[in-house]
Symmetry: C2
Subunit: 303 residues, 2 copies
């Protein structure tokens, strides 16, 4: 099947590109380490050209649809944010079109979404996944959780994003594990048999007392000094405590439907477990599937 | 007046020593950068000898009373923790006595305090300040707040410590300011005119929603992107948010009496302000005064 257009998810640290058939099937894919954070403005067209060179493209005009950090102010060309509440069906209409050396290639960069009322916030990339989720499960209304370095929690009503928040959970885990006094308690293998026990205890503490995070963190240090807790227990506890605290902060917005979880499978499985401990439930969503569905849905409204 | 004994506060990064008269007046003082974290076990006697060399000591047997990290397991000689609840009047009785090259010098290292019930926790050094506070204001019962890298909140009943907790507030501020994505928003002068406005807004957000810390932190990034908030505003907000969150987590344990605040004057003034915003009050306590009073009180019970 011939490639009809190319979809790209351009993140801060890398990018992924898919060659897609007319009906949106993946015909080929490519990736590169040239994320937004490593490029000057002038380097973007060449980084894209390089990635396109890995795909078996037809000898004809080509359409490329990009979501993510390429549209940031410090990226290729700023794609101004849509503002919540907004219908993500308008994503394509907000696209910007930077020039390519090859005039046969038309690039569209999709906007991110910002929020100014009810807590200032920004996203770039997740909005396309949310549009994809909405187009695959059009009836869904409720919270969506996107675990990661900066976890997003968005309230969807069909293709409409009502509001969202960002929790710095993943980044906090890395900071505390590598740079804080707690690193002394995690100096050794972190994936040992006590990791699970620590995770459950941390998640319980986070769910029970999310306001006490700054105090509960130090329990890791004390437990390693007083009870000889091992590095794997401590790493599990830290992970559980942070995820439990994050979920508790969103708990009263979670309804009876399973919360869609979009992100890495291993991380989403941890969130699903803590959602269950909190008396809620989750369902795993394939993140590649929703980003592709989102690029396809957005493409239909590019003018 | 001749020096009758020497009191030492031996921290992780430095140490302070005071030459004291028979009634506890300061006759001379000295300090050194040779904190516990920079010394091997064998280097402690020499580091102390060096500091004592800066004091005009009498030519007679000398007593040295030390509190703090010299008594940690990785310090000079481990002084096993007293366990809460406990009477700090017993601090001296728990001292250990490492040998000095000069047999005329008798060293006593005071124990720290640990907690195993109601949240594992540890302190080394603060217990001596608490004993000092109790001996200066013997009628006080209630919470004591010791702001710092790892803030301690202790419940005292006279000289008795009932329980305590530790909040990693100061360390979290440094980590987030220097190592997280928020550093991009604090790249510039941090003590500008907008710092105060940011501090008040952050403190209010922390007091109102302490369970939302992981989410509220990201507001700094969004506010700098969307509203052009300056580095000084962002630094103020981060400081206020963390202190507000810490105080909110302890709010329901704070009574009508002003909370004694032991720590650096500038930091304690910020805590006092947020206590006021929370409808409580604080009073500044001189930290050198209480550590000296604590060393003196502990000395009386060394056997």
């Amino acid at each position: 099947m011939a490639i009809a257009w190319v979809g790209v998810d351009w993140g801060t640290s890398n990018l992924r590109a898919w060659g897609l058939g007319p009906n949106g099937t993946v015909e080929a894919s490519a990736s590169s380490e040239k994320g937004m954070g490593k490029l000057t403005r002038e380097q973007f067209p060449w980084a894209l050209t390089e990635v396109l060179g890995q795909l078996p493209l037809p000898d004809a005009p080509l359409e490329v649809v990009i979501c993510g950090m390429a549209g940031a102010r410090q990226g290729w060309l700023e794609a101004p944010y849509l503002e919540t509440p907004t219908d993500l069906g308008a994503l394509g209409a907000g696209a910007v079109h930077p020039a390519m050396p090859d005039g046969n290639i038309r690039v569209s960069i999709l906007p991110g979404v910002c929020q100014t009322q009810g807590g200032e916030n920004v996203m770039r990339g997740e909005e396309t996944q949310l549009l994809g989720l909405a187009s695959l499960s059009s009836a869904y209304s409720g919270l969506v959780c996107m675990p990661g370095t900066h976890s997003k929690w968005a309230r969807l009503e069909g293709t409409r994003i009502v509001s969202f928040s960002t929790a710095m959970t993943g980044e906090m885990f890395e900071l505390l594990k590598s740079h804080s006094v707690l690193r002394h308690s995690m100096n050794g293998p972190l994936d040992g048999p006590a990791q699970d026990e620590g995770f459950v205890e941390g998640a319980r503490d986070g769910l029970d007392n999310p306001a006490g995070l700054l105090g509960q963190l130090f329990k890791i240090r004390a437990a390693s000094l007083l009870s000889g807790k091992t590095p794997d227990w401590c790493a599990g506890y830290l992970s559980g405590l942070l995820i439990g605290t994050e979920i508790a902060a969103n708990r009263n917005q979670i309804g009876a439907d399973p919360v869609p979880l979009i992100g890495s499978g291993a991380l989403c499985a941890l969130y699903m477990r803590v959602l269950n401990m909190a008396g809620a439930s989750g369902r795993l969503v394939d993140s590649t599937e929703v980003v592709l569905a989102g690029l396809k849905a957005a493409r239909a409204s590019i003018s």
